[in-house]
């Protein structure tokens, strides 16, 4: 598992090795000060200690400290800096790959989950390559070199005896570590129950209240809450032992040193200086032992996170340019479907089934049908956001799969149903597709009937929208998204039921604008309102994913089929709304905002 981490570090190996070398050097220099204190003790005992020597030692300690400080600063900047750089580079790579993945990928993955990979998981990887690697090297080097010095330069028997508690220390860390891990998993499980319980209760609070079950729910929550506390306390019972126990074993080593080492000093077989030095070394040893558990944890988490990130990175984009894809500068706006069938998931019923039609350039085409009839899917396929299976979609007689994605998307302007805007100024939202001059933007604003609204905004076109800016009404949002598409003057315009929140008279004005503005270019107008397509050159009627009828509005009217019936129904509906007289005020926003 360490391999994967080393693999991603390869590009940074130079800096990384420099950092490791500095770290090792600092570790070794740290061993000098205990040695010096021992030397002082020896000279004192032998009455050699002079003021000159003392000054020399003091300066040496200071000099060493300066070197160590410089070394520490440098390795921190190198090693931890590299891990930051790595995090940055990986995030760039991840985002760049995410941009290549097709909408179907986003249908399968929740945004929150993808965000977690680009933030929390990357954090974990950074930790394992940064602090994790530092602690690993540090504890290995420090342990090995200290042990070697103790054995070789001081006394092998004393070292052996004093280190007797260390295996127990390691054992305790291992055994307790396992128990702690088990109980920790349990704690997380119980925490999950608690979260789930709260989630369920709060999302069904209406039922809870309607049945006056508040007290019963509190009681049930009490049980979940108690279980959670129990799990935590049982974890604490073990985890509270670990650190004091390790401290205890380290203390035992000191006791042995004091007793056995002290006796050796008294017997004259060990110098006082060596005794003092030995004590200093023991102090250096206990923390690497403690750190090792932490290191293992960090590296485990890092590799698990790396796997989750690489799962995204290794997902091949399903929709991309074919080799030798055709680049067409300007399309004419001719669209054809040939026996197109498409479903969003293999186990779902097709959203489109056996749809064939062809549209001449320059037409204003209406697409009508009820909710779920496949209208939006039709637009998504023209844009090649999804690939049909089986069947073909043609633009200018070319299968869209043979065209470069850029050629399609530069020539098709799309107004999606959702009215999504970025939290940037309105001007930037309208000019989303590229650089547009003020005249272009002004023309688009006029065509989308936005002028009056803009005049009422605090900063006109520069008004910020979204969370930190102005909240636009549904109709305003839709008209901004419309302007965003109109400004492009593309040969093909796709309007996907994008005027549903706009009142009928404004809708009529907008449609008239579009008709004059886009004469000679293809416009596909998807709507559930049949009346809105009365002026179209050609109308497609969809029902349940199938193309039921196609023709001019007059032809369709005469057929007395679904088109005719939908129209009759909607006329009644509008009449019904008109009956009301007084208009009710808006209800407060009861939509659930994006979850925190």
């Amino acid at each position: 598992m360490l391999w994967r981490i080393l693999e991603i570090l390869r590009p940074y190996r130079r800096t990384y090795f420099q950092g490791i070398a500095l770290l090792v050097a600092v570790d070794l220099l740290q061993l000098v000060t205990p040695r010096l204190l021992g030397r002082i003790a020896d000279e004192l005992q032998k009455q050699h200690l002079t003021r000159e020597n003392l000054l020399y030692y003091a300066l040496l300690i200071l000099g060493l400290a300066l070197t160590i400080a410089a070394g520490r600063y440098l390795w921190r900047m190198r090693l931890l800096g590299v891990s930051r750089r790595l995090e940055y580079d990986m995030r760039q790579g991840l985002y760049s790959h995410l941009q290549k993945l097709e909408p179907a990928f986003y249908d399968r993955h929740r945004t929150g989950d993808l965000m977690a990979r680009a933030t929390n998981d990357l954090d974990a990887v950074r930790m394992s390559t940064g602090m994790g690697a530092v602690m690993l090297t540090d504890s290995l080097v420090l342990t090995a070199s200290t042990l070697a010095l103790m054995f070789v330069t001081i006394d092998a028997r004393l070292t052996g005896l004093a280190l007797l508690p260390f295996p127990f220390m390691a054992l305790a860390a291992l055994v307790l570590g396992r128990v702690i891990h088990r109980r920790f998993t349990l704690v997380q499980e119980h925490f999950g129950h608690l979260t789930e319980f709260a989630q369920e209760n709060l999302s069904q609070i209406r039922i809870v209240k309607a049945f006056a079950r508040e007290e019963a729910q509190i009681e049930a929550f009490t049980r979940v809450n108690q279980d959670n506390v129990q799990a935590n306390v049982s974890l604490a019972r073990v985890s509270a032992v670990l650190f004091p126990l390790i401290q205890f074993f380290a203390g035992l080593s000191q006791v042995i040193t004091l007793f056995y080492g002290g006796n050796r000093v008294v017997a004259g077989t060990l110098s006082l200086g060596d005794f003092v030095t030995f004590n200093g070394f023991l102090g250096l040893l206990s923390w690497p032992v403690m750190a090792i558990g932490w290191v293992i944890n960090v590296i485990q988490r890092g590799t698990a996170s790396l796997e989750r990130i690489q799962a995204v990175l290794t997902t091949p984009p399903a929709i991309m340019d074919a080799p030798g894809a055709l680049h067409l500068e300007r399309l004419s706006g001719e669209v054809a479907f040939n026996h197109v069938t498409f479903s969003y998931a293999p186990d779902r019923r097709p959203a489109l089934e056996e749809v064939s039609f062809s549209l001449r350039p320059g037409q204003l085409v209406g697409v009508v049908g009820r909710t779920g009839s496949g209208k939006s899917t039709l637009a998504a396929l023209i844009l090649r956001l999804y690939d049909p299976a089986p069947g073909q979609v043609f633009l200018d007689g070319q299968d869209v799969r043979d065209l470069a994605l850029a050629s399609i998307r530069e020539n098709v302007a799309w107004v999606p149903q959702e009215g999504f805007l970025f939290s940037t100024p309105i001007r930037e939202n309208i000019a989303f597709a590229g650089d547009f001059g003020p005249e272009d933007i002004a023309a688009a604003v006029r065509a989308a009937c936005l002028e009056e609204d803009l005049a009422g905004f605090p900063d006109g076109l520069d008004t910020l929208v979204g969370e930190r800016g102005l909240t636009l009404s549904g109709g305003q949002r839709q008209r901004v998204t419309l302007a965003r598409a109109l400004v492009r003057n593309a040969p093909l315009l796709l309007l996907d039921d994008c005027l549903s929140a706009v009142d009928t008279s404004t809708e009529a004005r907008i449609l008239a604008n579009i008709k004059t503005l886009r004469s000679g270019r293809t416009t596909i107008f998807i709507t559930h309102r049949v009346a809105a397509v009365e002026d179209a050159d050609y109308v497609l009627v969809l029902e349940g994913g199938r193309l039921l009828e196609a023709g001019t509005p007059a032809e369709l009217d005469r057929r007395r089929g679904l088109y005719y019936h939908l129209r009759q129904q909607q006329l009644l509906e509008e009449e019904k709304l008109a009956l009301g007289g007084l208009k009710a005020g808006p209800r407060p926003a009861r939509t659930r905002p994006v979850e925190e």
Partner: protein, 610 residues
């Protein structure tokens, strides 16, 4: 990163900046700890004991060196044995006090969050629906689960370490001063240096950390927005331009983290440097004193050890600072929630009766979720006990709001709603709602067994009653499920069809045997067989109860005793089916529309296929 930090928006961040160490907040928090004061007190005593014991080892080494090792006397061995024994005892003592201290603190901390969670959850149960209308569920779950967790850290880590560290610092200073006042004063030269560099670090680190948080929030909101709009970006071919934007955001974050790294990379080694400086001073000046026999070597050695001990708590405290900031932010959110007042409250004096007949009156009721945007205007009607009343009207006419008012989810602004002649505001909410069985459109069941769902946690419901409710709701399919009443539903349980869920929801309402039944009739497409089953069940269930049906399909309400037609929050017509058809008003038109719709659906079903 703690989970609650991830969603922190820019606005939240700015808010958090203003907050430092808020004493008032801390005081409010301590109130949840008061019940466990004896645990905290005991842990405090143990902390004092363990700290005292931890101060002993350098002193023991000093005695060993001075009394036995430097110039070994005759009885050196016996003395060493005694010292080693004492050392062993202290080591064991440190172990025990540290263990119990850590365990007790965890225990007390857990009990505090238990209590706090209990308080938050119970409080949420008591808040009115209007509170939930405008808040995302996820945010409230975070309050219950995560924010309380963050507070636990405040108790068990921050406050305790602070306490212990301060005590340790004082202890070390006293020990040093009493051992060798002149050397101690020399060692204390380090203190102003430490104070100065820590203050400088705190200032710089805070600034750097703020930048990091700010730019991290930037990365998060960029990802949130652009990942959810990826199809738009692709459809507009804006991948390159967006990648450039992302690069800027990512770079800003990278630079901020490097800034933070630089600050800490300078600070940590600087502290070690100051530590070494003090040791060098001690070696030089203290060594001179040793040569002159003014102090013993053992004392010098102990002073050096104490100096090294001195620096640990200082590094510690700097580290805990960030945890504390996050915990304070969580505390504020939790306490803010606890201060929300329920909009609908019981009257000080309530009317309680054992039996209610189920007569409902609306008396000139005006209602708005947000005045003055009236949703209901001057609504007046009455339903006699046992009658079935149908509410009819287009979407958004106010039908569901009327149902919500009868259960007193919201209070009316003007007028009065009465049950058996009593203003429902004079009744305890629980009592009122127990008289009303509510069957909602979207049937959501709780995860648990069928039986648990039917009694909704009311242990007083007899098994007999459950069985009768199932029978009345014609939910006999229950007996075919694996486990019958004990079959689990929900995420990890059996899959129920929409029709089955609706029958269960009906049974759930009937299990209470309420005098009033409110049905928000389901429009969702269930197959015709199930629909028939539901209709039959409804016909049986409504017999002998006051029933209010919110009708979406007119075909199902022809037999209602009375039909009230609402439009735009006002009653436009009322009467029986026959009467309303005769007046040729809105009801008549709606009826025609439904008829048309039926025809279109039928003809479309036959298919015009090409």
């Amino acid at each position: 990163m703690a989970p609650h930090q991830r969603g922190l928006g820019l606005a939240g961040l700015a808010e958090e900046e203003k907050r430092g160490f808020d004493l008032w907040l801390l005081w409010r928090l301590l109130s949840y700890a008061r019940a466990d004061w004896h645990l905290f007190a005991l842990a405090g005593v143990l902390i004092l004991a363990s700290t005292g014991l931890e101060l002993a080892p350098p002193y023991i080494l000093k005695i060993a060196i001075d009394n036995y090792l430097l110039r070994p006397p005759v009885a050196a061995q016996a003395g060493l044995v005694r010292l080693a024994g004492i050392y062993l005892g202290i080591t064991a003592g440190v172990f025990l006090t540290n263990y119990w201290q850590a365990y007790l603190l965890q225990l007390a901390g857990q009990r505090v969050i238990y209590r706090l969670r209990q308080a938050v959850f119970s409080h949420l149960q008591r808040l009115s629906l209007s509170f939930f209308d405008t808040r995302p569920v996820g945010q409230l779950v975070t309050r219950v689960a995560n924010d309380t967790q963050a507070l636990n850290q405040l108790y068990t880590e921050v406050l305790v370490t602070l306490f212990k560290d301060i005590f340790l610092l004082v202890g070390i200073t006293i020990a040093m001063l009493s051992l060798a006042p002149r050397l101690a004063l020399l060692a204390l030269v380090g203190v102003p240096l430490i104070t100065l560099s820590t203050a400088l670090y705190r200032h710089l680190a805070r600034k750097a950390y703020r930048q990091v948080r700010l730019h991290l929030a930037g990365v998060n909101s960029f990802l949130q927005e652009h990942l959810s709009a990826m199809r738009l970006i692709q459809a507009f071919g804006r991948e390159r331009a967006n990648f450039e934007q992302f690069t800027r955001v990512n770079q800003d974050y990278y630079q901020a983290t490097m800034q933070e790294l630089t600050v800490s990379a300078v600070f940590r080694p600087t502290m070690d440097l100051i530590n070494s400086l003090v040791i060098a001073l001690l070696v030089w000046y203290g060594g001179g004193q040793v040569i002159q026999n003014l102090v013993t070597f053992g004392v010098l050695y102990a002073m050096i050890n104490y100096t090294q001990q001195f620096f640990r708590p200082i590094n510690d405290m700097a580290e805990k600072y960030t945890i504390m900031q996050a915990a304070m932010a969580a505390a504020e959110k939790v306490l803010g929630l606890l201060q929300e007042k329920p909009a609908v409250v019981d009257a000080p004096e309530v009317i309680v009766r054992p039996r209610w007949r189920g007569e409902i009156e609306f008396d000139h009721v005006w209602f708005a979720y947000q005045p003055p945007h009236w949703v209901l205007r001057d609504i007046t009607f009455a339903v006699r006990p046992g009658e079935t009343l149908a509410l009819v009207g287009p979407t958004g006419a106010g039908k569901t709001s009327m149902a919500s008012l009868i259960t007193r989810f919201y209070d009316v602004q003007q007028g009065e709603i009465r049950l058996d002649g009593v203003d429902i505001r004079q009744m305890p909410q629980g009592l009122l709602r127990r008289q009303i069985g509510l069957v909602l459109q979207d049937v959501s069941l709780f995860s648990g067994t069928i039986a648990e769902n039917l009694i909704l946690g009311n242990p007083d419901t007899s098994r007999d009653r459950i069985i009768r409710a199932i029978e009345a709701a014609q939910a006999d399919f229950v007996w075919d499920l694996p486990g019958g009443l004990e079959a689990r539903v929900g995420e990890r349980g059996v899959n129920l069809s929409l029709g089955q869920r609706q029958l269960l929801a009906l049974a759930r309402a009937l299990a209470v045997d309420p005098p009033v039944l409110i049905l928000d009739e389901a429009t969702a497409s269930v197959d015709s067989q199930t629909e028939q089953l539901i209709q039959q069940a409804l016909a049986r269930a409504t017999a002998g109860r006051t029933t209010i049906v919110i009708a979406h399909r007119l075909s199902t309400i022809q037999n209602a005793s009375r039909i009230v037609v609402v439009n735009h929050g006002e009653i436009v017509e009322q009467g029986t089916h026959g009467q309303l058809l005769a007046v040729r008003g809105l009801y008549w038109r709606l009826w025609q529309l439904a008829d048309q719709e039926e025809k279109i659906l039928q003809s479309a079903g036959k298919g015009f296929g090409p």
